[in-house]
């Protein structure tokens, strides 16, 4: 593509994500698909795993690596809710509150979490930078209400009573 990205002046030098081991991982993924574009979702996961979130500059790098435009990558990133477009707390909590879990007390679990983590508000990061809590849609574990994800840990059957102990397990 002929579009060039022009980062604003005065920004510190960008450290590419796709070097060393991460680049190896991407190169291992590319042959699975007949197009480079199809490796976009896996590439974005690699960025998020490495950096915790996906910045505009990261999107430009992914675009260059896969032969896409930054705007295109951004359109994809903003479509999928699991990609973070800004930094989040050290631990990212996703609580399901869709109807099947809702009728089993999911919203009380959310309130307990906001309290116990100090995050206070949905989407906000706690003052100590450790926690961000959000509500998400159906997590596909409705029979184990209320399920939640803390980072990559999928935890079932959470009740308000169990929240404090759960939060303590994460430093």
């Amino acid at each position: 593509m002929s579009v060039t990205a022009h980062p604003a002046p005065g920004i510190e030098e960008y450290q590419p994500v796709f070097t060393g081991k991460t680049l190896d991982q991407l190169n291992g993924i590319l042959p699975r698909y007949p197009t480079k574009q199809a490796a976009l979702l896996p590439a974005l996961w690699l960025v998020q795993q490495a950096r915790g979130w996906i910045s505009d500059r990261n999107m430009t790098e992914v675009a260059e690596v896969l032969g896409l435009t930054p705007a295109y990558v951004k359109g994809v990133v903003t479509f999928y809710t699991m990609y973070h477009q800004h930094p989040v707390g050290k631990h990212f909590v996703q609580v399901c509150t869709t109807s099947p879990c809702n009728v089993c007390g999911a919203e009380a679990v959310v309130r307990a979490l906001l309290d116990a983590t100090g995050a206070g508000e949905l989407g906000a990061t706690s003052p100590d930078g450790k926690w961000t809590v959000i509500e998400v849609e159906c997590l596909g574990a409705c029979g184990f209400a209320t399920p939640l994800l803390i980072d990559d840990d999928f935890i079932e059957s959470v009740t308000p009573e169990k929240v404090a102990a759960l939060v303590k397990r994460y430093k």
């Binding site: 994809v76 109807s99 099947p100």
Partner: protein, 426 residues
């Protein structure tokens, strides 16, 4: 079985036989349980023959649409001129449904085996298993299993890859799933063209649900007649189905019963009935996108494709959501509308704007600011959102709204009359 509960005698345990057995996750453990025999058999058969057996068995898609699987496979070009693809729909995001998760985390090899057999039947060399991003545990288990199976070389020339989603319910729609694999926004495509003609990367493609594919090895090993015989309502609905029961029952979980099983027995016998002191108010039998059944309809309902339609709803994914008499129907319908508004891909005008508008009307109603005209407005919007869009997410938002107003009108009117306290959170 009703994992995490012990299998109930009234269950017909086939697909869920090894739920809860950690050893079943390993290649060795699976082979010990008779695994990969069907695949060995399939790889010696002509693709068309496998399709015939599956057609004969009456297996229908378990993701929600209920389309005859053998027929779907037969849409693929007989003569192979381009690469063929199989996509496995493990995006399970329909509220109330949690069966594919169990299949993947307890019997990953069953899915891999079914996938490989299906790939062979449709002459595909590559299969992508599209797993929703939130399924971190099933994904890790599937990765491990795939590594072991590849090392054992069971798939022959067929390559199976895992492709992780990133948080979009709409990617469970087959054409949106294909777009997502291609590295695009998960927008559903206009049909025609159909996937068998123009699918992922523009190549002939078949998309099958997880539960559909794990039935295939059993059908091959035991025969189509056996599969048909499992059901109470052959030949239209055959085999067994995993029903994910959740909400207000004593023992929520996945229960495998024969097609045609009475919903009443599922809820009161297998699941142990309502929580203590509570009565059944409503039930959504097929995941949240189907019409809500009231108590009478629920207790009359037979669980097969035709039986549920007879009661005015659909079997869908078999995600059975149970509401007892403590549930505020208006609030839950609002919460469902909010789900659809959040998940809309934004292509079609009616869906993009209508799901959000519907949610807002219901939120206002719950805040005590509803107007009498709101009910007719909701019904009118729902009609405008039905049958007029690229995919059925829009229709799915309308379903609970229309059936909710029809069957629980008194609850809506209570809010309009100001008789209830406004409720902003359950």
């Amino acid at each position: 079985m009703g994992y995490p509960h012990k299998p109930h005698p009234q269950e017909t345990v086939v697909l869920s036989k090894h739920f809860g057995e950690v050893e079943a996750r390993s290649y060795k453990g699976w082979v010990k349980r008779g695994g990969y025999e069907a695949l060995k058999q399939a790889l010696t058969m002509e693709p068309a023959k496998i399709t015939d057996v599956v057609k004969e068995s009456g297996l229908r898609g378990r993701g929600g649409a209920g389309f005859p699987t053998g027929l779907k496979w037969s849409f693929m070009p007989k003569e192979k001129k381009k690469p063929h693809y199989l996509c496995v729909n493990a995006d399970e995001s329909e509220p109330g449904t949690f069966k594919d998760r169990e299949i993947m985390r307890w019997t990953p090899h069953a899915l891999l085996e079914g996938t490989a057999i299906a790939a062979h039947a449709i002459q595909a060399e590559v299969a992508y298993v599209y797993i929703r991003g939130e399924f971190t545990e099933p994904c890790a288990i599937m990765e491990q299993a795939l590594g072991e199976a590849n090392a054992a070389g069971v798939f022959g020339k067929i390559k199976i890859y895992l492709h992780r989603g990133a948080g979009a319910y709409i990617c469970g729609e087959e054409t949106a799933l294909m777009n997502s694999i291609e590295g695009k926004r998960g927008n559903p495509r206009i049909k025609p063209p159909f996937p068998a003609a123009f699918g992922v990367f523009g190549m002939p493609t078949t998309i099958n649900n997880v539960e559909t594919l794990v039935a295939v090895p059993h059908i091959l090993r035991n025969g189509a007649a056996w599969y048909k015989g499992l059901s109470l309502s052959s030949p239209k609905s055959t085999g067994t189905k995993l029903f994910s029961v959740c909400g207000h029952v004593q023992r929520p979980g996945n229960y495998e019963v024969t097609m045609g099983f009475p919903l009443k027995d599922l809820l009161y016998e297998l699941c142990g009935g309502m929580p203590s002191g509570r009565t059944l108010k409503a039930c959504i039998p097929g995941g949240s996108s189907v019409p809500i059944l009231n108590r009478e309809e629920t207790e009359r309902c037979l669980l097969d494709y035709e039986g549920v339609v007879e009661q005015g709803s659909m079997l869908g994914s078999g995600g059975v959501i149970v509401f007892d008499d403590s549930v505020d129907m208006v609030y839950q319908i609002m919460r469902l509308a909010r789900f659809y508004a959040h998940e809309s891909c934004a292509q079609c005008t009616q869906c993009r704007e209508g799901t959000a508008w519907t949610t807002r009307i219901l939120e206002r109603m719950l805040a005590g600011q509803g107007k009498p005209a709101d009910l007719d407005l909701l019904l009118d919007l729902s009609e405008n959102m039905t049958g007029k869009t690229i995919c059925v997410l829009s229709d799915s938002c309308a379903a609970p709204v229309v059936s909710g107003i029809k069957k629980f009108r008194n609850e809506f009117e209570a809010y309009l009359a100001g008789k209830k306290h406004p409720v902003l959170a359950a």
